[in-house]
Amino acid sequence: MHIEQRAQLDRSILGEHLEPAKLDALLELGEWTHLQPGSVLFREGEAIQHIFVLLAGRLNLAMQVPGRGDCHILTLGAGELVAWSAVLADGTMSCTALCVDEAKLLAVDAAKIQAQIKNDPEFGNQFMKMLASALAKRLVATRLQLLDLFKRE
């Protein structure tokens, strides 16, 4: 891969939590995907077997609300993790992910990650810390969004 791409990965949440050898191992497991604006990465309710790292572009997360249709609730950008419940839960997606700007993603098969975790506990340790960190960051951002949405004025 390009030096620039690797540099971006190093700067992302992956590089923050995975040591170089572990990051290499993850890249070995994954495949690069491109998405065009308007295309759907996965749908709400769908069972997904891959976890994704967004390297470039933007995705919107949307949820269906009866009577209101698709509500776009969050935009994800470069460096963010998508579809972690593929690894953490049964892979049922709670949102639809829609491509807004041309996107480049690393897709990694959840089963392959589980196998890697079994073989390399330290990889598992670092990978899980990364997931926890991503979740925490998303939670704070969501809370700030709520604070603003429900402001008195």
């Binding site: 776009h72 935009t75 950008g77 951002a141 603003d148 949405l149």
Partner: protein, 293 residues
């Protein structure tokens, strides 16, 4: 006292005048902006005063409705306007602003100022400037943006990151096309989107997380908006490797005298009316985390 002689008024130092002195200002125009927000174009009635009035981006005036009270409002127009056209973008937020929004073009109110510290334009020269605006925080930043645009060649990349609750609440949105044409990169985000919204959804610090390319060591960040938003935006800037001393925010507190003598606007050792409202983030950092200090 020096001698027991006749009572005398104390001599004032040449640089000061009575800070309570209020001047009449005429409302030349009122421009509705977004819901509950309008920009008041004020002209100082005294022509000589109007000619000589100067302010810097980020400074504010105390606007006065006799019988009701005063409110501190930042100026939101270009600094070249002197005292003949002073723009104040006001949101209905309390008793005094409620009285102001009942005024019409041709009415007058009181004005004293300018007060407070300014956005440090000098610190931006030769560097990349990231301006982060949350909601009504756009208003005190607009004079800064006008300066950056007016002297565009002196600065590197200029990026404006704007957050609003929803697309219809995005202040000065109609100017963005013109600003983009003047080489200002603008990224938008809302908390709640509507159909057809092409910008991002989520809080404004996320835009700073994703900003690429970013030359952290060459960047300065100017942030204005609700306090919680400014705090998290500053933390996002720090996470991107931007130096603490390159981050500036604009604080808001209850103001009455505007000259550091009534005590209302204190935040730790700082008087927001005198050492602020524009502060270095690092000066505010020890107090921001308390929220009730």
């Amino acid at each position: 006292m020096k001698t027991l002689a006749q009572p005398a008024t104390a001599r004032q130092p040449a640089t000061s005048h009575n800070p309570w002195l209020v001047h009449r200002a005429l409302i030349e125009a009122i421009r509705p902006e977004v819901a509950d927000v309008a920009t008041y174009y004020l002209r100082l009635a005294d022509t000589r005063l109007a000619d000589n009035y100067r302010f810097l981006p980020g400074q504010f005036n105390m606007l006065y409705v006799p019988g009701c009270g005063e409110v501190a409002i930042s100026m939101s127009g270009p600094i070249s306007s002197t005292g003949h056209e002073l723009l104040h973008t006001i949101r209905l937020a309390g008793r005094v602003t409620d009285a102001i929004i009942k005024l019409r073009e041709g009415d007058s109110l009181g004005l004293r100022g300018p007060f407070g510290t300014a956005w440090p334009v000098a610190e931006c020269v030769g560097r990349d400037v990231i301006v982060v605006a949350g909601g009504l925080g756009m208003a005190p930043l607009r004079p800064l943006l006008y300066e950056l645009m007016g002297r565009r060649g002196e600065f590197g990349k200029v990026v404006l990151l704007v957050g609003a609750r929803s697309p219809d609440l995005m202040l000065f949105e109609e100017e963005f096309a013109r600003w983009r044409a003047l080489d200002i990169q603008i990224e938008l985000t809302v908390d709640r989107a509507i159909n057809g919204w092409a910008g991002s959804i989520g809080v404004v610090p996320l835009l700073l997380d994703r900003l690429e390319p970013l030359n952290a060591s060459q960047s300065v960040v100017m942030i204005c908006g609700p306090e919680v938003m400014m705090h998290y935006a500053a933390l996002a800037a720090l996470r991107r490797g931007i130096a603490k001393e390159s981050i500036w925010i604009s604080m808001e507190r209850n103001m009455q005298c505007a000259v550091g003598q009534c005590g209302h606007c204190q935040l730790g050792p700082h008087f927001v009316c005198k050492q602020g409202p524009v502060f270095r983030f690092e000066a505010m950092e020890p107090y921001l985390k308390y929220r009730d200090f």
